[in-house]
Symmetry: C2
Subunit: 297 residues, 2 copies
């Protein structure tokens, strides 16, 4: 069973009637107040899978555990409100707990959410599982579904740096995206956690469309360039590395999307097509984009 | 750092202003609709800590992962509405995933909640972390705080069986407790997950009271009796074994609490005192009750 097959299996088994959106997007969506939805997500960091103990500080790991969840909230147009944290540790350790706490606190101040609960358990391998609760105005909710033929495809920041330092200094563009969706007609959104190729295909599948990706327009990070022998290799990093945690979105063709919002770069990288093909265009060459992003299994 | 010290450290670091209740009870509480609060909790089962792979089926483990969370929701007077599940597995395995799914589905039908999201990750040791969202009418919210001198102490079911089969056939008394709180003046509530001694002391601390526990009235499970050489040993099991997942509550002295609700036994086991001492009374002997319940560290 691939990760995709497992998710399809779970989607089939767990259909929701009470939620606005169930297992189908970056977050689940339920009703909340008159003007707001509540959006819910969970994401985990596991020792030796998402981090190795000697490479990063606990402060960084605490921050990242929060950031990957905020990224999901951000991809729905929302802002984080509350979080609960499950922590698994082999033994009680003041240094670890207080360093993780500092990292989490730093994020909670920056993104204005509160830690309201959690769970502490013994575990041979360390894990941090965050459950995050966000809110989004009903009229601003964005999902993977909604991209239409003719829409243009944009991405925030730069891609392909996940092998290096950036992955522990994540800063999901919540305030930038909130400003964007209030001003422009954004038709769909997803966060790039598994890789551009993988996540763009997920968005296209849910929106029942295809796309043309302008390969030479993809904003490649300087880190990805540094570790690459040539341009093609750096493109592959930008296309297929997981853990970028940038936001990919589509907008109506005539929207004047700015090149920068609050210091964050925004780049047009393609367009949505009616033909359900996943096409890359690079120097007059046309090829098929395949899902080569990160998969756990 | 003991588990208690860690929780105190986290409580001090993570104070909430937006939530009705933060890190302080079985669940966090936030506003929801006009008449309801939303209650949020998370609890994890970890391989070799909460279960061993050869002793229980995946179906049982899936059910238990849900039950321990429902128990928290139940202890606030609520009913479960939604859950998100984080699953860590060493490799993709159809049998494990489909058996866990069956166990979870069985519980979702019985308790009428829906699975609306989750996360799948690679992990050397298996873990299931459930995040559960429940609702409770504002007027029926119960917490650990609220027990007053003169109140009587009650417990559902029987205690001290956690070493044996019961711990994987948990059935939190949600419907029974819901009926109870609608009819009688219940002043405080907690679930017995760490052990009667430990959880009753937690309730007393939060309510700023003491208690007298009628040791010979504690309903000891037949399983606890079976594994005990004498009565005193079985009492110790009932007092200090974790994982009972029964509900302990206090009620006004003149409330006519029934001995049974919907088939679930309810037993009066003590009374709340103004004097902040934790007293056990057994055959005219008086002794101090100490927190000897389960602790992860």
């Amino acid at each position: 069973m691939t990760e995709k097959e497992i998710i399809e299996f779970l989607k089939k088994n767990f259909k929701s009637r009470k939620a606005i959106l169930g297992i189908d997007d970056d977050c689940a969506v339920i009703k909340y107040t008159k003007n707001y939805y509540l959006i819910l997500t969970t994401d985990t960091l596991v020792e030796n899978v998402h981090f190795e103990l000697n490479k990063f500080t606990w402060h960084q790991i605490g921050k990242k555990a929060i950031a990957v969840n905020i990224s999901d909230i951000c991809a729905m147009g929302g802002k984080p409100e509350f979080a609960l944290i499950s922590l698994g540790l082999p033994q009680s350790n003041y240094k670890i707990i207080s360093d993780i706490t500092k990292g989490i606190k730093e994020m909670s101040k920056k993104y204005k959410f509160e830690i309201i609960g959690g769970n502490l358990t013994k575990s041979e391998k360390i894990f941090i599982d965050v459950f995050m609760v966000g809110v989004v105005e009903k009229k601003y909710l964005k999902t993977r579904k909604g991209a239409s033929p003719g829409n243009l495809i944009y991405v925030t920041g730069t891609l392909g740096a996940s092998q290096i330092g950036k992955q522990f200094a994540l800063s999901p563009p919540v305030f930038q995206i909130r400003q964007l969706i209030k001003k422009y007609k954004i038709t769909s959104m997803i966060d790039i956690s598994d890789g551009l190729s993988s996540d763009l295909i997920k968005l296209a599948e849910r929106s029942c469309v295809g796309f043309k990706l302008y390969i030479d327009k993809i904003p490649i990070s300087s880190d990805a360039k540094k570790i690459s022998k040539n341009e093609m290799e750096s493109i592959k990093h930008a296309l297929n590395d997981g853990e970028d945690y940038e936001i990919l979105f589509t907008a109506e063709r005539d929207e004047k999307i700015p090149h920068k919002i609050k210091g964050t770069k925004i780049t047009k990288i393609g367009e949505i097509t009616e033909d359900k093909k996943y096409i890359g265009i690079y120097k007059d060459k046309i090829f098929e984009i395949k899902d080569k992003g990160f998969s756990h299994f």
